[in-house]
Every structure is written in structure tokens, then in C-alpha cells.
């Protein structure tokens, strides 16, 4: 190992400038020990930068969403006129109640997709997902995931914001489920029993 070889890591780190950099580069190109290091790193870093698109600036809407959340975190400011705040709070509570009632009347549907054995993801048109031999299948209901084992069959009985309900007709499933808010549930029924989520991962 020549003293010049010891400069190669610093060259690849980008720590050298000017004449030092030029000399180290010249050495690395001609040295049998350093050339593979230089070429491999260049190949990787150039390839990586070419594959990864630059990150775009945040849109105005994204910044607004961020600032709305930030304001929600801020400490409440004391009002000089408490009765104004009480009246405003009462009006806001009334508005929230109306919205919640409205949502209860018409629960929105959670998107349900099935991932097939070949990796293809298709919208779930019917209600049944079958685990193909050897590889099984994956059911995506919103952000929740249900692994359907090989030779298994599961039927999606209901999927909306309030409730996701599955019936296991054959075989076994594993579910990875997000935390449920009060009034929401995720359940799997099978053989006369119903398993309702209390944690975030379970098997049936």
C-alpha cells in the first residue's frame, strides 16, 4: 500500500479539494488497488442519484395542511372576554354534532384491494378472496392487511369507516390492523365464533 492509497478514502468521502483532489484522483485511476473502489462507488452513487427523482417543493395545499396541524398544537390563548369563547365553543360543539350525525347516517366505504400470488393488485370486485396454493393472497382493506394462507377462503361481509367484518370460510388468516377509534371495529368470524380486534396483530 503506497502513501497515495491512503488518500483514496478521503477522495471518495469528498473531503479533498484543489490540487490534493486532482492528485488523489490521478492516483486512484491508475492504481490497481484503488481503481475498483473508485469505480464501484461512482457506479453506485451515479446510479442511485439517477434512479431517485429529486423531491419537489411542497405544494401550497400541503403547507396549509401542515400549518393547520401546527396551530392545533399551539397552547390555547386566554381570551379577555370568556363569554365570547363559551358561546363560540357551544356553536362549534353543535356543528361537530351535526357532522358526526351526518357521518353516522352515511358511512364512507373503505377501499378494498386483493393482492394476487403474482404480485398484481386488483380492486376487490366480488367479496371473496382465495389463497392460491403455495403463495396465499393478501387482502388490503384501507390501511389494514389480511394475509390469506394457501388453500384458504375469506369473505368480506362489510367494509366501511365504522366496521370491517370478515368471514373465514376455510383455512386461516393473519391480520395486521390499525388502531380503532371508539365506535369502530374490525372482526373476523369463523365456525360460530367472532374475533374482534383488541390489539393490532392476530391470527384466526
Amino acid at each position: 500500500v503506497s502513501p497515495a492509497c491512503e488518500q483514496t478514502p478521503a477522495l471518495l468521502d469528498g473531503r479533498l479539494v484543489g490540487g490534493e483532489r486532482a492528485a488523489a484522483e490521478q492516483h486512484a485511476r491508475s492504481c490497481e488497488r484503488c481503481r475498483p473502489q473508485l469505480e464501484a462507488w461512482k457506479r453506485f452513487s451515479d446510479g442511485y442519484r439517477a434512479q431517485v427523482p429529486p423531491v419537489a417543493k411542497p405544494s401550497v395545499e400541503e403547507t396549509r395542511r401542515m400549518m393547520r396541524k401546527a396551530r392545533g398544537l399551539a397552547a390555547p390563548v386566554r381570551s379577555a372576554r370568556p363569554w365570547v369563547m363559551i358561546a363560540a365553543a357551544a356553536a362549534a360543539a353543535g356543528a361537530i354534532a351535526v357532522v358526526v350525525v351526518g357521518l353516522n347516517r352515511a358511512p364512507q366505504t373503505v377501499p378494498a384491494m386483493a393482492e394476487l400470488a403474482d404480485g398484481q393488485v386488483v380492486p376487490l370486485v366480488g367479496d371473496t378472496v382465495e389463497g392460491v396454493a403455495d403463495r396465499g393472497a393478501l387482502l388490503r382493506v384501507g390501511d389494514d392487511r389480511v394475509g390469506v394462507a394457501a388453500h384458504s377462503r375469506v369473505r368480506l361481509l362489510r367494509h366501511d369507516r365504522e366496521r370491517v367484518r370478515l368471514r373465514l370460510e376455510a383455512g386461516s388468516v393473519a391480520a395486521s390492523v390499525n388502531h380503532r377509534a371508539p365506535g369502530q371495529s374490525f372482526s373476523v368470524e369463523s365456525g360460530g365464533f367472532e374475533v374482534t380486534v383488541v390489539g393490532t396483530r392476530f391470527r384466526v
Partner: protein, 195 residues
């Protein structure tokens, strides 16, 4: 000459109007959340990139959620910021912590589901090199976590060693040592892929 003097003076005035990180953090400490907006516009790119590349291939919504989580954490931790420290490195550190947790959560989830469902794997190796489509992100995925972190941070917008060290809570010499180790492993993986 007088025109260019005016231009320089206008540029200096503009620079004086742009608040520094320390000034904005001071306002944030006092509860002025409006100070977050310029910080978000200034550093959202690098935080987004860390989320996207460190936690794995996040979709746009997950990456945005992670960004917002990082900046909301900044509000909560504003008291701990000391002027003179690099805010960029500090934010990157919060992003790395959150991305690690996200990656770990996905790893557990995939571990459980993979017992039931195994999607078809795309082969990794010589065939791809021949087609000149070697996926560098897949090379990155095969690195140990500490090596992947250091490579991602150094390659993203060319973060300097001081920022990387601040982000990972290590000293600058440890950054160079880890980067050297990561490069060695990358070379081995490229040779392996070449067959």
C-alpha cells in the same frame, strides 16, 4: 457600476429580511407557530427524502405524514434547540428516528403476513446487470441498517459530515468510518450482482 451597486444593496436587504434558523426557532419556542412555515419550506425536501429513502419505498401520503410528524415534533422539542447547533442536522436526526420506527413496524407486519402470503420475488443478479437495469435501491436495501443510514444521508442533497454526525448522534470520525465500511459492502454486492 451604480446599477450593480444598487442590485447588491437590494440583495443584502433581501438577505437581511430572511430570518435565520435561530430566529425562527426562538419564535417557535415562544409559541409562535407561524415561524414553522418558513422552516417547513426550507427543510421539508431533505426530511421528505430521508423518509422516502430510509424507511423504504413510502407512498406519497405516508411520506407527507412522516414529514408532518417530524415538523410537529420540532414544535414540541423547540425548547431543547440550542442556537449554534445545526438545525438541518437536528431535523434529519428526528426524521431518521421516525423512519427507523416506521421501517421496524413494517418489518414486523411483513414478518407476520409473510407466513401466510409470499409474493413472487423478482430475481436479483446477473440477468439485471446484463440488461443495465441494476436497481441501486435494492443494493441499498441489502446493506445493514447503520450503513444504509449513512449512505442515504451522505447522498441526499450531499449532507455534510457535521449534519450527518448531528443527525445520528455520533462524531464526525465515526461518519467517515461507517461510510468507508458501507462502500466496501456496496462493492461486494455489486461484484456479487455482476456474477
Amino acid at each position: 457600476l451604480s446599477a450593480s451597486r444598487e442590485q447588491l444593496s437590494a440583495r443584502d436587504d433581501l438577505a437581511a429580511q430572511v430570518p435565520s434558523d435561530a430566529e425562527l426557532m426562538e419564535r417557535l419556542k415562544r409559541g409562535d407557530t407561524q415561524a414553522l412555515e418558513p422552516l417547513y419550506e426550507r427543510y421539508r425536501g431533505v426530511v421528505y427524502a430521508i423518509g422516502q429513502r430510509h424507511a423504504g419505498r413510502l407512498n406519497a401520503d405516508d411520506a407527507e405524514d412522516l414529514c408532518q410528524d417530524v415538523f410537529l415534533t420540532l414544535i414540541k422539542l423547540a425548547d431543547r434547540y440550542r442556537p449554534g447547533n445545526t438545525l438541518r442536522g437536528w431535523l434529519c436526526g428526528i426524521a431518521v428516528q421516525k423512519a427507523r420506527r416506521l421501517r421496524q413496524g413494517r418489518w414486523f407486519r411483513q414478518g407476520l403476513l409473510s407466513k401466510f402470503y409470499r409474493p413472487k420475488q423478482v430475481p436479483f443478479g446477473a440477468g439485471q446487470v446484463a440488461e443495465q437495469h441494476l436497481d441501486m435501491e435494492r443494493i441499498l436495501d441489502r446493506l445493514p441498517a447503520t450503513s444504509r443510514e449513512i449512505v442515504v444521508l451522505c447522498l441526499i442533497e450531499d449532507l455534510d459530515a457535521a449534519d450527518v454526525a448531528a443527525a445520528l448522534g455520533i462524531n464526525v470520525n465515526a461518519v467517515w468510518t461507517r461510510l468507508h465500511r458501507a462502500r466496501e459492502r456496496i462493492r461486494e454486492l455489486l461484484e456479487e450482482a455482476d456474477g
